[in-house]
């Protein structure tokens, strides 16, 4: 694999995470540049994800780069049965960087081994979505002024929600305390709890969304996704369990901020949107700066 790819959040060391966040803050001050002039980025979306694709394409455009690619598999040659290896090899000849979204887990890792140019994983099934994690980290860093020693509360689907798993791994560098709020059916998997035990990182599990959140620095909300459930009855049972309402925020810290990977369904009531603690819309905007920084690092660009 070429070293500059970003496939999994664990590909970045603590120092690299901080380096990228620093670069992202430069892009936030000055988003437009010509650093990608003359460069071609392949944007390969084997499944549609409008939000992620637009964020990447905005990032690339603001840096003066050109984009080739497709936005869902039906417009690519994979519908004719072309293997991921062959598609990647072909595109590798044309471009300087590949951004890839694929429904199969491990697809981006495999592509990074086949390609000579760096690959940025824009989501591989339920596995990794490291640019989402980096934008979450940037949002935490920006709102709290640090990543160190924070109380991170994760709410909702902690079993299938890949964003919380990647965020947990990334935050483990920064001496956090975790609180997990979920129904029993959707609790944090054992593997991640063992990971925290090994690192002596404290975590507390709750089943009620109540004034326990008064200790939070970050309240990370997730949606419960229907497609993650084999049994639709299980989904009906848990989908409305945790809904955050404005009235529940009265006792929370002034500096606390609410994050959500978006799109939301109903887990954050709209009456929260006007509260200054609601940060999820700015969070999405941070994705453009963060992706600019990730591209900057992947291509080893210099200011």
């Amino acid at each position: 694999m070429n070293k500059r790819s970003l496939v999994s959040i664990t590909d970045y060391s603590k120092e690299e995470i901080l380096e990228v966040l620093k670069i992202a803050s430069e892009f936030e001050k000055n988003p437009n540049c010509n650093l990608l002039a003359g460069k071609v980025v392949a944007s390969l979306f084997f499944e549609p994800s409008t939000r992620t694709r637009l964020s990447f394409e905005t990032a690339i455009s603001r840096m003066g780069g050109r984009i080739v690619g497709f936005s869902d598999a039906s417009s690519s040659s994979t519908t004719k049965g072309e293997s991921l290896k062959d598609t990647t090899k072909m595109v590798d000849n044309y471009c300087d960087l590949i951004v890839m979204r694929h429904p199969l887990e491990g697809a981006a890792r495999f592509a990074s081994e086949v390609a000579s140019v760096p690959v940025i994983n824009a989501g591989d099934g339920a596995n990794q979505h490291p640019t989402q994690t980096m934008l979450d980290l940037y949002s935490i860093y920006k709102t709290q002024g640090t990543l160190e020693n924070l109380n991170i509360f994760m709410v909702g689907d902690l079993k299938y929600g890949r964003t919380v798993h990647s965020l947990l791994q990334a935050m483990s560098h920064f001496n956090p305390t975790f609180h997990f709020i979920s129904p029993k059916e959707l609790e944090m998997p054992q593997a991640y709890k063992l990971f925290l035990d090994e690192l002596h990182i404290p975590y507390y599990e709750h089943t009620e969304l109540d004034d326990v959140i008064n200790d939070a620095d970050i309240l990370y909300m997730t949606r419960v996704q229907r497609e993650r459930f084999a049994d639709p009855l299980e989904y009906e049972k848990v989908k409305n369990v945790y809904i955050l309402k404005n009235s529940m925020l009265a006792g929370t810290k002034d500096t606390m901020r609410i994050l959500h990977p978006l799109p939301r369904v109903n887990e954050i009531d709209e009456d929260v949107d006007d509260n200054k603690k609601a940060y999820y819309f700015q969070q999405a905007l941070n994705g453009v700066y963060t992706r600019q920084a990730i591209i900057f690092k992947a291509l080893d660009l210099k200011w």
């Binding site: 429904p103 887990e105 491990g106 697809a107 890792r109």
Partner: protein, 152 residues
């Protein structure tokens, strides 16, 4: 003299004796090593008494020495096994089966949505636990535990 005691079924002149196989893993070992399709002489001992394993199995293969990838496969299904290399009726070498740190192209990933189960991609795992064995897929990052290991 200890070597003589182990050769209770019949003596191998040159070849391999795989001892200390848990009895219920005998058929898995036969499968992963492809013993059913060998031309060599093979004898099995099954449900032999073992102080460590309760019931054990033993396989003797004439004129065959295991290659590294065969030892790795054996390690995945029967990590307690011991390999005796026999030359001129004597145990020339005894080796414990070592569970490797990485395994490639041997086992299947347990995740149906993994790229390795959907396209022609050779499987790769890091061995993240050794007793019981736990494999972590290099691609999808999911864990496959000992019970779910399927040898390709």
């Amino acid at each position: 003299m200890a070597a003589k005691k182990e050769l209770q079924v019949s003596a191998v002149e040159n070849g391999t004796v795989i001892d200390h196989i848990p009895a219920d893993k005998l058929f898995d070992v036969i499968n992963v090593l492809g013993i059913q399709s060998l031309e060599n002489t093979v004898t099995f001992g099954y449900n032999l008494v073992s102080s460590k394993l309760g019931k054990k199995a033993i396989i003797k293969i004439w004129d065959k020495f295991l290659k590294d990838d065969e030892v790795n496969k054996l390690a995945l299904v029967a990590p307690t096994a011991k390999i005796n290399i026999i030359k001129d009726f004597e145990v020339a070498e005894k080796k414990a089966v070592m569970v490797p740190k990485h395994v490639e192209g041997i086992a299947k990933c347990v995740n149906p949505k993994c790229i390795t189960n959907n396209q022609k991609v050779r499987t790769k795992f890091d061995v993240v636990g050794s007793s019981p064995i736990v494999l972590k897929c290099h691609y999808c990052e999911k864990l496959t535990d000992q019970e779910h290991i399927v040898i390709i």
